[in-house]
């Protein structure tokens, strides 16, 4: 099996402070835990290409997508990243199914996601008529469809009911293992982080470091 990976070593700005983050993720889930405003989302935005690091390198599957020295900066749409945004960013003028199939109409994965994410009954509903938890599930589902090389998940399950949450967390664990997709998972919830991975990082003094887990 080809090992996919995400590697980055970046220097980026968060609230006028320089944040240093460096990490290598193989086909596994790595969690970033910590309070709001520490720069978790900024790291994801740097990898996605929504904002550019001040310095550093980012590569996916050993292909460089950003290098400030070599002036490499692959456009967002060519990075093939699945990104579940903290604020969902669903297309409000489309219904649920159109949001889900925006990137790809892959029916097999679509059916699986509809089933696991419990979306059967809301497929043709408008986005504005949905609850927060429903929007979260759609945003996460949308990011998984279309065969992304890596997944960036920014608090994807906040507001989702506990029972469904663990069904989805198991699905993500399987996806990372079986499809060999590196997942960077940002959360406020330590239980969620511990359930998903042993590799939990946090941002301390503007540096991304591994967190010591005390049970």
């Amino acid at each position: 099996m080809i090992k996919s990976n995400l590697k980055f070593k970046i220097e980026t700005e968060v609230d006028k402070l320089i944040l240093n983050a460096s990490l290598e993720i193989n086909n596994e889930i790595v969690c970033i835990f910590g309070p709001s405003g520490s720069g978790k989302t900024t790291i994801l935005n740097n990898i996605a290409g929504i904002i550019n690091p001040k310095k550093g390198k980012i590569s996916i599957n050993n292909n460089c997508i950003f290098d400030h020295q070599k002036k490499i900066n692959t456009p967002i749409r060519q990075r093939n990243i699945g990104y579940a945004f903290q604020d969902e960013r669903l297309f409000s003028h489309m219904n649920v199914i159109k949001n889900l199939t925006f990137k790809s109409k892959d029916q097999i994965l679509l059916k699986k996601i509809i089933n696991i994410f419990n979306l059967e009954n809301i497929l043709y509903r408008k986005i504005k008529n949905l609850s927060g938890g429903e929007k979260k599930r759609i945003s996460l589902g949308r990011s998984l469809i279309g065969n992304p090389s890596i997944l960036l998940l920014d608090e994807p399950l906040s507001g989702v009911d506990e029972e469904r949450k663990f069904i989805i967390l198991n699905f993500l664990k399987n996806l990372s293992l079986k499809k060999s997709i590196p997942i960077l998972y940002v959360t406020h919830n330590m239980n969620e982080a511990k359930y998903l991975s042993e590799k939990i990082f946090e941002i301390k003094n503007s540096i991304l470091i591994k967190r010591k887990i005390i049970d």
Partner: protein, 230 residues
């Protein structure tokens, strides 16, 4: 309505419709550029688009006559090769109206496109969408009310257009004599005050109707956009 009134009324509608058709696509493109793009000279483009609001309309009509009149190079070329004569024709009147109403077409489109959340575009990019696809599937559907409001506003402006039209295409009954030109003719020639008032009221009615539609459409959809953001 008398034959004189109905001829001016329907000609105004015909010219108004063609003039809005002329500027629909350019209006959407310029609105999109002004709302979404940052570039050197943007202020200049913005000012240039708004020129018809400040230049005397008769001046624009005169410029059109110089550029597209039969004695001009371009006007002569169009006439010789395609048998198209814009000056003193109703199509020329529509062209003059479209230039005068262009800023009103662009404005609501631009406002709606600027009001759109730019983060949504990033979400679409992260899903592999090209800029063209984002324009077609995100920007354009969300700006639809602005386009509709722009169309109606531009149409209303065309209905009231006088200066540029009379300078470029003259005042030919049945060909270029729209409601304002017919009204002017009556004021100049008729002694019947009632006739003048009647035509004036018809013009006002048509313009107010178009404006009411434009305002309510824009308000309704701006409200919807705000609700969607919540």
């Amino acid at each position: 309505m008398t034959a004189f009134e109905s001829s001016a009324f329907f000609l105004s509608i015909k010219i108004g419709m063609l003039s809005t058709c002329f500027i629909l696509i350019p209006g959407i493109i310029i609105g999109w550029i002004l709302a979404k793009k940052n570039f050197f000279g943007k202020i200049l483009l913005d000012s240039f688009i708004h020129l018809p609001l400040v230049i005397p309309p008769i001046g624009i009509g005169y410029i059109l006559l110089i550029i597209l009149g039969k004695n001009s190079y371009l006007g002569n070329f169009l006439y010789e090769n395609f048998n198209i004569s814009l000056s003193f024709s109703w199509i020329g009147a529509a062209l003059a109206c479209s230039i005068m109403s262009f800023p009103l077409m662009v404005r609501p489109i631009r406002v709606l496109m600027e009001a759109q959340d730019k983060k949504i575009d990033d979400a679409a990019r992260s899903l592999g969408a090209s800029e063209f696809r984002i324009f077609l599937t995100i920007t354009l559907p969300l700006a639809y009310p602005g386009i509709l409001a722009g169309l109606v506003l531009a149409f209303a402006r065309s209905i009231g257009e006088f200066g540029a039209t009379i300078a470029f295409v003259g005042n030919i009954p049945g060909e270029t004599q729209t409601l304002p030109l017919a009204l002017w003719t009556l004021i100049e020639t008729s002694n019947n005050q009632n006739e003048i008032i009647r035509l004036g009221l018809i013009s006002i009615f048509l313009s107010i109707l178009a404006l009411l539609i434009a305002t309510s459409v824009e308000k309704k959809f701006l409200d919807r956009l705000k609700n969607d953001k919540k």
